[in-house]
Symmetry: C2
Subunit: 318 residues, 2 copies
């Protein structure tokens, strides 16, 4: 089969123009937003997108709006050339790689001309801010999914979901897709995007795609590259303990105390050498913590191994 | 000239379908969002829209998301039949009147099934909420223009601009216009929408349209209908004092102390029998308060007359 050479677009107006031209021809567009450093997990999202639409756009953009200044924006891994190679190798390929330089730099439009630098600095000092405010670019509009953003990852990363919902809104407005695919590894993110699309009336169908794992069970993540061999070994404790917890639930026919199950998983990961950020059993829809599993639930975990924070989860059906 | 009969659409999917069909035919769409009870001010926005696009959509929807439970949602005036008559009488008419029943009722999608009513109530008690949360419909995504929303009307109406930015986002996603027109009577709202459109990459051109006034100078507003004749007479003090302030500025060739000018306007309105909510001289772009007028500024006022809160403003060029 001939390899499809994707069009690489860096300009947002050009991106939108491409989508509008295609739509005018009756074509449907699938969209997979990524931060690059692609692995099999990303590629599975693209394969999923191929099932729904004729054309595929993949964005590669490390979004400063979802990192706080103290987080790992500067060390987030990237390799654009390798990413494009991987995209070409997918059956059916992709049509466009959208790879903007910055999505928060609006040039000297003069709209923020009156805002003193001094005041911006004062505001940054007192508010919880992302790397976007830190750079002082004048961007100030944020989309918030006020309830779902509060728990789990939202607790330890207070600007994270605000940044995710905002960049996804921006990308949706630029790419104008019919379908967008998100990985269920980022379970809370997936739920937030689905809620946002409903609440803001985006005409976009959101698909959740299953977690991809390495042969040893580690959930695929761009951040895995930063794990030392020892840390990686320790990190296997997440999937191992979640799988055992799920088996326990099945064996005890649902008569499981969530509090005990959580404590057990936390202990397993800590004993393996990780540092648990959270381990919560929540309702699949509301992401509210549950005490007993009576409706479809999901066991979500975040844990540190050295300087790397990993997340994983496992759905538990009833 | 034949009177154009507008298409009345109440369903959001049908609305979007109409826009997409028109766009596929190469037509451009202008959009004027309103809360109905139309007056000459609204009609001037529509006339402005006619200068920019081939087709015109007017929405009539009283947005519960921008009212707090203690505000005047229940008494906000409406007269749909009279509104349609007025729209027909405009030269060129309008093509669609979008008149949805509710834009926050998503049916029993089950997505919020897991959220207990009790918890919703607890959240409503502690947070600043709008009439949307009060109804417990499960909507939880809000667009915030974090800096511009803070001052002036945002101080006394803390949910107002959150509600405006959110409903405008929803309407933009439903109507998908090329151009949208907003009145400069709601100066802060206009600036917020312009900022939001830039920051969220909406492909929509925002036009600001000048304030329309009654013969006696009162800025047109749907709320004017609630003024008693005496209150209306008192309310003239806003425009009268703003005009005098502007003349003072011109006479003194810009050597005007804003603090004194503000005090003087507040005194004039209070002496006339109004109760000033705020009177601020701010930069036209940043809406930051200024002490001296060195760049284009705008004098914004909000004041109560009986149970009616009115706003007005006057641009001051240098």
């Amino acid at each position: 089969m001939a390899v499809k050479e994707p069009l690489i677009i860096t300009d947002k107006d050009q991106m939108r123009q491409w989508s509008r031209t295609m739509r005018a021809q009756g074509k449907t567009i699938g969209f997979v937003p990524t931060m690059g450093y692609l692995h099999e997990g990303h590629l599975s999202l693209i394969k999923e997108a191929h099932k729904h639409t004729q054309l595929i756009v993949v964005s590669i953009y490390v979004n400063p709006g979802q990192f706080s200044p103290s987080e790992d924006l500067s060390t987030y891994p990237s390799d654009f050339d390798a990413d494009v190679k991987k995209l070409k190798a997918i059956p059916g390929g992709v049509d466009v790689v959208f790879h903007p330089h910055s999505l928060y730099d609006y040039g000297n439009s003069g709209r923020n001309g009156g805002i003193g630098v001094e005041r911006e600095e004062k505001e940054r000092e007192k508010a919880v801010v992302s790397c976007v405010e830190e750079k002082g670019l004048g961007h100030e509009t944020w989309v918030r999914v006020e309830r779902l953003e509060k728990g789990m990852c939202g607790k330890s990363r207070p600007v994270f979901f605000r940044g995710v919902a905002t960049i996804v809104t921006k990308l949706f407005n630029i790419v104008e897709p019919d379908v967008a695919v998100f990985g269920k590894k980022d379970y809370q993110q997936w739920r937030i995007i689905r809620q946002m699309v409903r609440d803001l009336d985006f005409a976009i169908k959101i698909i959740g795609s299953e977690i991809m794992r390495e042969d040893d069970g580690l959930a695929m993540s761009s951040r895995n590259v930063h794990l030392s061999p020892e840390e990686r070994e320790k990190a296997l404790s997440i999937n191992r303990s979640l799988s055992k917890a799920k088996a326990k639930f099945a064996a005890e026919k649902g008569q499981v105390n969530c509090k005990e199950l959580r404590s057990w998983v936390i202990q397993e990961i800590n004993e393996a050498g990780g540092r648990v950020d959270y381990a919560e059993i929540v309702d699949q829809e509301s992401l509210e913590a549950v005490e007993e599993i009576k409706s479809p639930a999901v066991f979500c975990v975040a844990a540190w191994f050295g300087k790397v924070r990993l997340i994983d989860n496992m759905e538990i059906s009833v």
